[in-house]
Symmetry: C2
């Protein structure tokens, strides 16, 4: 019997992944680039147990048993086993119990599958003592999961080989490189049924007139510029590229037929707030980026956190809830602000935002060796 427990981070792309060239191998049409968020406040946690006594493979996800019969899950598992250490022996024959959970709402649309698959693959690789890069294995679970295998600033190289062997993630800079960087996640209330990323990007590849141009011309240039901006800690350039790339991704979604919409009126109000604030400051102090959902991630340096949080608090007031429910993550000091009037921005009805998380760029996945951290009991059943 053997048990491994890991945690793995969420990542937030500043150059977006949108469009596959191979649906099965999950090979992208362009490079992408993200920061890995600290696991202190948002992470996936997975416990994997193998035992000769287990009768079948079982999987519990967020406190609910789910089928093990998932192509993506089995692609990851088979690939890890193929690269398992020769010393594993009969371990490879034993059935697995896997228990996985996110410490943030899956429904919030916060890249939970990226963290989840990175965590699963990292734990499996530890279990079977896989050597070398495993980001390509995580990619088989969920494309952007490959970026959560490393900490700091991470590039997913699209690769050119048909096998996908070179479609892996590499670290551009460690988390310690730009310690002043902060990320504020604005979780937007939304009841809209959304198009999944998988089906949305498939439709974009099939119908968008713009996507090819983006993948072939715009992203290669922007990725170089983004790496340069990160390496030289040029926030002005970093912010502009981040905002332009987020908008271009959503622009491609709108150029898709039928169109996919991920942002809503609150997302748009956040965009307008950021541009108004930057204009008021005379240079880019905050950047927004939106994935396939209405939530905003703001990148900014620590010096501007208090002012921007005060502004957000004014424009998007919380419902009358406990402040500790509304402001999560690294503690935020909320001042009062008169900026909303100065910037002539509309106050929204309370509750447009569900909550706000302040976090930082952080490290990659890690193993938790203390058995109290395991999500499974010694019998291989969920503790919860």
């Amino acid at each position: 019997m053997k048990t491994v427990t890991c945690i793995a981070p969420v990542n937030i792309a500043v150059i977006k992944y949108w469009g596959k060239r191979d649906e099965d191998l999950i090979l992208p049409i362009n490079d992408s680039l993200s920061s890995t968020l600290s696991t202190d406040y948002m992470c996936s946690k997975t416990t994997i147990m193998v035992s000769p006594t287990f009768k079948e493979n079982r999987f519990w996800l967020n406190n609910k048993e789910v089928t093990f019969d998932s192509e993506r899950l089995n692609n990851c598992l088979n690939e890890v086993k193929r690269r398992a250490s020769p010393t594993c022996g009969e371990l490879l024959q034993w059935k697995l119990h896997i228990c996985s959970e996110n410490n943030f709402p899956t429904a919030a649309g916060l890249a939970s599958s990226a963290a989840g698959y990175a965590c699963l693959v990292y734990a499996l690789a530890a279990l079977y003592r896989v050597e070398g890069d495993i980001s390509g294995i995580a990619r088989r679970g969920s494309g952007s999961a490959c970026r959560s295998i490393y900490g700091g600033w991470v590039r997913w190289n699209k690769g050119t080989l048909p096998s996908g062997e070179d479609s892996i993630a590499t670290q551009v800079a460690p988390a310690s490189h730009w310690p002043e960087m902060r990320i504020i996640v604005l979780v937007v209330s939304d009841d809209k049924k959304k198009t999944s990323s998988t089906s949305g990007m498939k439709r974009s590849v099939e119908t968008s007139e713009f996507l090819k141009d983006r993948a072939e011309k715009v992203v290669p240039r922007r990725t170089d510029e983004m790496i340069e901006a990160i390496k030289s800690k040029n926030f002005e350039a970093f912010a502009q590229l981040t905002m332009q790339d987020s908008n271009q991704f959503h622009s491609v979604c709108l150029d898709t037929y039928p169109p996919c919409f991920y942002m809503n009126d609150v997302s748009r109000a956040i965009i307008e707030m950021v541009h108004a604030y930057n204009e008021y400051k005379g240079s880019n102090k905050v950047a927004y980026t939106f994935d396939a959902g209405p939530n905003a991630c703001l990148y900014l340096l620590e010096d501007h956190v208090e002012e921007i949080v005060a502004l957000i608090n004014e424009i998007f007031p919380p419902l009358a809830v406990d402040a500790t429910e509304y402001f999560r993550g690294y503690p935020i000091h909320v001042n009062s602000s008169k900026l909303q009037e100065v910037l002539q921005l509309k106050k929204h009805t309370p509750g447009c935002l569900k909550y706000i998380i302040q976090t930082k760029v952080g490290d990659g996945p890690s193993i938790l060796s203390n058995s109290s951290e395991h999500l499974l009991t010694e019998n291989g059943l969920p503790k919860k």
Copy 2:
């Protein structure tokens, strides 16, 4: 003393104009194509009076005197005078009084400047007996005004000459060509401060990565396909091209830096309703198109008007107002509907739509010769 009164129609583009190659001459970077709406329910009306007794040029717009010192207005006036009939004589020396009004709210964002400038130029051309095409003159007032000079289905040829002489409108098919076509305008409630078309398209030309590709590759192909669809009355193709081109225009706006947003959550709900309805019907029965604002124009054949209006009435219920206030234009018979449930579309709060206008494709500008139609008294002052 001489008085001319004209009316001119609104036009709704199905291939969008977005981007100038010459700001002063108002020369576009791509062709565009529109239908001219019947003047029965939406039009501009202009009375122009010249008299040797007038001391100065004066202009009343929507019951308010405004400055005559507008570059666009004077560009139009000078161009008309340059091409005036040699028989005009001293008429050309007399000062003008101009009174103009729209019979629909300017604020509704319904191409009021296109109708307004087409009307002004048509009236001026009648006054000074200009011969030949005058769409190029209307273009100097507001680009898309050139398309309102003709009835039916109208193409604005971008032209290639630096002088702009070949940047004029031509009729593709008369209004009588496709008599079953109906247009339903959905006026969406919105309090957002919007970016003007002029500054929005300037910013797109300067910053969008996609606009060049659209203008050079996509629009030329789509314009040919659209003309073919209109000539063969192929609604299926017409509808897809119309929706794709509207979305692509807004996609370019989003790829602009900072981005321009013209559609809001209600606009998006209309788009989703149309795609759900078309999917339910098994083919395209309705097409949406959005200009630089949140209002939708739906194109559809008369057979589907009742069903789609019933659906709209369910999804976007009116505030408790007089039905004649909510349903305008050609009379609409509003049935009850169960489609909203079938299509699983969300009911919106009453009042999301301000009102609904049903109209048709119609003819170009015309002269109203009855003096009771004049907006100016014999003294040259507004009747209102």
